[in-house]
Symmetry: C2
């Protein structure tokens, strides 16, 4: 069902400042930056092996990411697992009683995505991603 860790997301106050660590000190490269006003975030992706680190910076005070930053501070936010068939995965997880934030997949930056509620996954926000052409 799960192919790999697609990315690990980190909430930061300021992506440019965070790149001082993740790019300048740790030597990672930025493959993509994107502003997503409808989700209230700016994102940057830094490939690491077959996965990526995603930096998330809130654009304003109203997004979930902004609330996370205000209450928990900077740090690990979620993990994204790539699946072959997200519809089958969601049906199976729902059948096993997991609480889903997205009952059906929605459009994400890299494919169709859905979040599982952290109450069902031991405090971990888990995103599932099906990339185009995966099936």
């Amino acid at each position: 069902m799960i192919k790999k860790i697609d990315h690990v997301a980190i909430v930061v106050e300021d992506i440019e400042r965070a790149l001082g660590v993740f790019r300048e000190a740790l030597g990672l490269q930025v493959s993509q930056t994107q502003s997503l006003p409808e989700q209230g975030v700016t994102i940057a992706f830094l490939p690491v092996g077959e996965s990526e680190i995603e930096l998330l910076e809130p654009l304003g005070p109203d997004s979930g990411v902004a609330r996370f930053l205000a209450t928990r501070g900077e740090g690990l936010h979620h993990i994204c697992l790539e699946v072959e068939d997200i519809d089958a995965a969601l049906a199976e997880l729902k059948g096993k009683g997991l609480r889903l934030i997205n009952e059906t997949a929605v459009a994400g930056a890299h494919g169709r995505v859905a979040f599982i509620h952290p109450k069902s996954t031991h405090g971990v926000m888990v995103e599932l991603l099906e990339r185009p052409g995966s099936r």
Copy 2:
């Protein structure tokens, strides 16, 4: 400098209970479980692509993992990045002003490891790992 995400670690109250989600629902397999009394934890590894998910359960109330669980609850704890040469990596990070929890590498379950202080990495606990035969 960094080869891949070696693992993403999740603190849980009870590994057996957590496997109800990560193994039974998400379909991952357990490759290794180990009790590490000197570190105050029991660990389980579940491979995902080239990486692994590590579940961490405190053995008693005195470990860092137990304190994390008491103050923050279950959830994402740290990310481990595999490097080719951990001594060179630590020297470079120290030279760039990052605060290290381990100034020199120590023995870990899978090789020589060192932790960077989350105050230097935007709230993320980062572990570096050099596997045997890596250089």
